[in-house]
């Protein structure tokens, strides 16, 4: 499980776009996974299982709390992923994070799972718990939206 932590953090960073919340989400995921370890089906991928736990925690708990408590924080939070770098790097972080923030959740998670985490459609659909066709169309819509938002910013 320790070996999975860097990847889990990356996915959490994509979902939260905020380093502090990213690690909160990771911690909750680890705790939930260890508590529910008997539910993990032998012979299936541990990483996919943990991604699913993380994704559901994000949707059900953290994001719901965010919505209630800090409606206006999203935009600021978008600038804080990644370590402090030079001005140019920080601007780049801002563009991508802001573009991701503006996507609907279901498109963002699809793009992150396929393009960043490198899952196939079927695996990504299993993590999200939707049919593969749904995953494919959400992915393409998210990708196209991102592409449009980021055009001319690189």
């Amino acid at each position: 499980m320790v070996a999975l932590l860097p990847r889990l953090r990356r996915f959490a960073a994509g979902l939260t776009r905020n380093l502090e919340q990213c690690d909160d989400l990771c911690q909750m995921t680890i705790e939930r996974a260890l508590k529910s370890r008997h539910l993990w089906a032998e012979g299936t991928r541990l990483d996919s299982w943990m991604y699913r736990i993380m994704r559901n925690l994000w949707i059900d708990e953290i994001r719901a709390t965010n919505r209630r408590n800090q409606t206006f924080k999203e935009e600021e939070a978008g600038l804080s992923v990644g370590a402090a770098g030079d001005q140019e790097a920080r601007t780049e972080l801002g563009f991508v994070d802001r573009a991701l923030s503006s996507l609907p959740d279901e498109q963002r998670e699809a793009v992150l799972l396929v393009m960043v985490e490198g899952y196939g459609y079927q695996e990504a659909a299993d993590i999200i718990g939707c049919p593969m066709g749904t995953l494919s169309s959400r992915f393409v819509r998210g990708r196209d939206a991102l592409h449009k938002l980021l055009e001319g910013t690189s």
Binding site: L34, R143, L150
Partner: protein, 241 residues
């Protein structure tokens, strides 16, 4: 055949099988607009990956590592109390070392995560002459499975000889963990912790705690520590007598 955006994206992600893949590939070869679409897909992908690369490369914060370790903290404590024995143990071969040192943590964690098969404890333990004894898959595993074996429905964590010269083995069977000692031609259950009933009511045991109690019991019962894999194999070949 028209190539829609979804199909092209699936192609770019390597998600198409032939004949679709070949069709899209042929279309791309003749249509520069499609080729450009695939190129911009790859460029976006590369940009996103580069964006998140720093997270992947940065050190994992201690609090997350602690969260993984916390669940086996009681096991860790037992281990550290026995540091002196551990130093001696290191000269004695891999299995012994694995038990006494941090390996025990890894083992109990791995067991919890790798075992998915649910086994009802009642099938694995029965009563003979008023004593709890192992039966079915548990009996089979205790008798014929080395601690180093790949993950099985019943996992044997270690074997040792108690002060009375009996062979004893620590096992984990997902819904329960325990310690069984060879008693004539049976495995008498010396200790058992069930996780099954708790799991059914949604009250999960703190991960690793059942095992760590049993590991602690095993340590206190084993004057010479755990058997090495060679010793274990030899004991098994002699029928645990």
């Amino acid at each position: 055949m028209t190539i829609d955006r979804e199909m092209l994206a699936a192609y770019a992600e390597g998600q198409l099988a032939d004949p679709d893949r070949a069709v899209v590939e042929a279309a791309i070869a003749t249509d520069p607009i499609l080729a450009e679409e695939v190129a911009s897909h790859q460029a976006l992908k590369a940009r996103l990956q580069a964006h998140f690369a720093p997270v992947l490369d940065s050190p994992v914060p201690d609090r997350l590592l602690d969260a993984v370790r916390e669940n086996t903290a009681s096991t860790a404590k037992i281990v550290s109390l026995d540091a002196a024995r551990a130093t001696r143990a290191e000269k004695r071969g891999p299995l012994f070392t694995r038990w006494i040192t941090g390996g025990a943590i890894a083992a109990s964690l791995a067991v919890g995560l790798l075992l998915g098969t649910q086994i009802a404890p009642k099938n694995l333990v029965g009563q003979v002459d008023g004593k709890l004894v192992a039966q079915a898959a548990l009996n089979t595993a205790l008798t014929g499975q080395l601690a180093s074996a790949d993950m099985q429905p019943v996992h044997i964590l270690l074997s040792f000889k108690d002060s009375g010269g009996r062979y004893c083995r620590v096992f984990d069977a997902t819904t329960m963990a325990g310690l069984a000692c060879r008693d004539a031609d049976r495995w008498a259950i010396d200790r058992m912790q069930s996780g099954g009933a708790a799991a059914a009511t949604g009250q999960y045991r703190q991960a690793g705690s059942a095992l760590s109690e049993i590991m602690a019991a095993a340590q206190s019962m084993a004057p010479e520590g755990a058997l090495t894999s060679d010793q274990e194999k030899a004991a098994m070949d002699k029928g645990w007598r």
